[in-house]
Symmetry: C2
């Protein structure tokens, strides 16, 4: 049974999709059979790999999940595309459907070593459904003032889910993104986050690197698009650290 | 009756809060009585002005809205603080309560010239309630690949609301944020946005400027924190353009 890893943070634009996509690619390149699940109605993980969102989300279809999974250009990495339809999102998060999602995520993904779930910028029901079926959650944090603000709420929600008997969720780690070592603000936020969260914070930081933001327009991870870039090397290092913690 | 301006975009981290806060400050400095309404459960607009979120959102309290409004350090600019509580957010967006919000936004704010509403990163009910009680919506767009992706969905939702008999909503404009003229990606996105949206896009672009991201840690707008910075000057120019369009 594969490990299900959610990438989540209520704060918008902190690098959730970029981290989920590049982590999935890094794990595939390391030889693990990986599935990237796009749970965000913006469908950025889907379009960032050059694929199309689907009309009806695969997690809501009655048939086996396998039928909704599509290949990517990277061997060993597959994608469960997102859906822009609002009804799907509400269904994914609601009652009976919410349980179908949990069943699919729990049973349907047996053939993968890693399942990486990209979550929308919210702590609402959809993210909670993803967290309650995950083994771990990775939280990207931008090195900005507002970064610390929303974190306590997020950590509280994660704590609640970890506390449930039915959950196997652990905090996988916090990763600092868009790190710019020229900025004092970056160092201030890093110091605060490492003091507050200690060893939970990954050693690896992801630098701000234009190659990272260019890669999605080529439908690739930054590791494939610009393998010698600082952003690509940092994501490869992050993969090694994630593998080391599992 | 004041003009109600919502600042909205489903994409996270594009500069909604930064634009709402600095627009409100710029309008106050130009002599308009301005209210900033924080509708995001992250409460970044509230903490960015050095104020505390409230337990129960002012828009949900039965009493006159005036009682929930707090002053800021800037004369002429007041704040309706946000609430982190999830129940509030769901209530704000739901049935009967949703109507109370509309009543408050429509009637309770007579004493302001401008009401600026900071929305969460979503096109869900809460944002739709804000849009349906607004005169105009301003959409910040980051000069990044994913920026154009979610826009069609957002524009579709706005179009639906504009089409309703009860609405007076217009598209106030699109503003390019975190503009870095050294990056080719920035110029590519700008070209695409201006070709697609034409005159709707403001002439003024907001440059990426560290002073903008430092200002909230001092509880001030960038116009007060670093008045000679490129970010501050751009937000003053944006204010002039918004005033010119009204
Ligand atoms: N290390 C980096 N260097 C430069 N740009 C980056 C980096 N990481 C992410 N970006 C860019 O920043 C923007 C925000 O990142 P991303 O979309 O991954 O965040 P998100 O948390 O998924 O956003 P949302 O909250 O909307 O889901 C994107 O345009 C992305 O390309
Ligand atoms: N022009 C700019 N230059 C540099 N940094 C900026 C600029 N505009 C915004 N920022 C920073 O970028 C981050 C995202 O901006 P902001 O929080 O305003 O976006 P948002 O759209 O409100 O995010 P959310 O989707 O979470 O509500 C913040 O840390 C902010 O300080
Ligand atoms: Mg995302
Ligand atoms: Mg915001």
């Amino acid at each position: 049974m594969g490990r299900v890893v959610s990438v989540a943070n209520q704060k918008g634009g902190v690098g959730k999709t970029t981290t989920a996509l590049n982590l999935a690619a890094g794990l595939a390149l390391a030889g693990f059979r990986t599935l990237l699940v796009d749970l965000d109605p913006q469908c950025n993980a889907t379009t960032g790999l050059g694929r199309q969102p689907t009309d009806r989300h695969g997690l809501l279809r009655a048939g086996p999940l396998r039928e909704s999974v599509v290949s990517t250009d990277l061997t060993g990495m597959e994608l469960l595309p997102g859906s822009r339809r609002f009804e799907d999102v509400a269904l994914l998060a609601g009652g009976v459907e919410g349980r179908r999602v949990e069943e699919h995520l729990a049973k349907g993904l047996l053939s993968f070593d890693y399942v990486i779930v990209d979550c929308p910028p919210s702590v609402g029901k959809l993210t909670q459904v993803a967290l309650s079926t995950s083994d771990e959650v990775i939280m990207p944090i931008q090195c900005e003032y507002f970064a610390m603000e929303g974190l306590t709420r997020m950590v509280h929600v994660i704590g609640k889910i970890i506390g449930r008997d039915s959950s196997r969720l652990e905090l996988g780690g916090i990763v600092l993104t868009m790190y710019d070592h020229h900025l004092e603000l970056t160092h201030e936020v890093e110091k605060e986050v490492r003091e507050f969260f200690g060893d939970i914070v990954f050693e690896t930081v992801i630098p701000r690197d234009v190659a990272v933001s260019e890669a999605p327009s080529h439908g690739e991870s930054v590791i494939e698009y610009a393998p010698y870039s600082r952003g690509a090397r940092a994501y490869v290092e992050l993969c090694m650290e994630v593998l080391g913690r599992d």
